[in-house]
Amino acid sequence: MIALVDCNNFYVSCERVFQPRLEGQPVGVLSNNDGCVVARSQEIKDLGVAMGMPAHKIEPHVRKQCTLLSSNYALYGDMSRRVTDVLGQHTPHVEVYSIDESFLSFEGFAPESLIGRCQAMRTQVRRDTGIPVSVGLSTSKTLAKLANHRAKKEPHFGGVAIMDPGSDDTRAYLEQLPVSEVWGVAHRSAVRLHTLGIETAWQLREASPKHLRKHFSVVMERIVYELRGVNCIELDDMTEPKKQIMVSRSFGRLTQNKTDLQEAVRVHAARAGEKLRKQSGLAQAIMVFVRTNRFRSDLPSYSKSVVVPLPGATCDSRALIRAAGAGLEQIFKQGIWYQKCGIMLMDLCNHENEQLGLLGEAENDETRQRNERLMATLDQLNREHGKGTVRLGMHRKVNAWELRCEHRTPRYTTRWDELKEVSL
């Protein structure tokens, strides 16, 4: 069985751990430079504040009721690590999918014991970290993802929902679910599926995998099998383009060599930058992760990630590479045989939204246009003359990024001089 563990309103939940008075209040977290809303509490959602909305577009009477905070990536990264640590105490197979989501494999555990186990795990995460999580269980990642959604939305599950791929209940759920709600089905694919008469998740499940492979891609074929309960999707195939971009790869053979990792992280960051610019997006932060081969129990295991905020929302490969390099520097440990490393661009927003928000942006229009031209030229050369024709080298390390973050809470868990004060 596979579980998807998802932290509820993660950034807001992190803030609430150290400021309990925010419990039950409408709270939003803003992107770098306080541009647009990237995370929302349930209460602020209920007030109609949309994801990605520029802060200045929130109606004054709504804004007055809300607490809007600058993003505190040091805190979110540390709390995410703590949550992952607790999950790792319940199964050795934890695959981090994003800062607030992990897939867990419960191979070899008795299926009937899993709901109880996951309840205990959920209680422990809440106790040890203060973060509320929801758990979805099924036999494939796609169904686990749907189960997780139900665990969140349907209170009778008590935070842990299981979906048996063969049950009537699962069928009823899939029959009413629009195909666009299925993990990995992009908006454009959904429109094309409609023309083939496939409108619900159940119809997709019943479609011919071979046929869909011809019309779409191998990923769509796998989604069909996943909906039937067969686990066959790799996480790298499945990042949601509007939310995050992940580029990672396993090394051909295990390596201890730091230069190998630096090179890989640089290539991944550059590739992610291309993808980002292709969708006219901007990223706010970058996560770097490394890990060992979890099936080599004879070697020390190590898995670590870090979130590095970017100097303002950007799609500039140079900034991405610089941040990724700095992140790797923090998590690299000598003497470890690494199997995989990767990077993830986080909290993507689109160009128009962010630029409206950037009133006090240090980078002037001229510089920005010049940088955009440089990146466009770079992409064009790589497109026309083959991947990697023009590559960016390693850049001078920059040790301080001054972001505009007027409402950032202290970095409670990563700075000695910013610890939470408790009154005696």
Binding site: P20, V86, D128, L419, L424
Partner: protein
């Protein structure tokens, strides 16, 4: 007088410190050190004090109400959220949305937060929005000027 200078490159001030493992007694020149047999790992205070790393947080004490148990203004509290709170524990409690540090206690079967300073009255917990945030397992207090905690 002239002197020839060669530029070997710039010093990278931001490069991380290079740590070189000391391997005692590896090269056999002369007699082996009799101490070799007694070499052990370094003592790691964090490892020694903290039982549940992912559930442990450091908080900064502010105020005077807990001086009776040796917690002073500015001290560093080690707080474990995974410990089951019991009467007698020094706890971090969220009361009406604010975090406070007191001793968890009962007076006539009712829960109270009690200060360790006679100038502060016990805080009744019944009928209040409150929740234990964590149990204080250690307090670190600096005794020498110039040594911060």
């Amino acid at each position: 007088m002239s002197m020839h200078l060669t530029n070997l490159g710039r010093v990278d001030q931001f490069a991380p410190a290079l740590s070189i493992p000391l391997v005692a007694g590896f090269v056999r020149t002369g007699f082996p050190s009799p101490a070799d047999d007694y070499l052990e790992g370094e003592l790691d205070l964090v490892d020694h004090l903290i039982q549940h790393p992912s559930a442990t947080y450091f908080l900064r004490a502010k105020g005077t109400s807990m001086e009776g148990v040796g917690i002073y203004d500015g001290d560093l509290l080690i707080v474990d959220r995974s410990v089951e709170p019991r009467p007698g524990h020094i706890v971090i409690m969220s009361v009406d949305g604010e975090l406070t540090c007191k001793k968890l206690s009962t007076i006539g079967n009712r829960p109270y937060l009690v200060a360790a300073n006679p100038e502060f009255r016990p805080i009744p917990l019944f009928g209040r929005e409150c929740q234990v945030w964590g149990v204080v397992t250690h307090n670190i207090h600096s005794l020498a000027p110039g040594f911060s905690v």
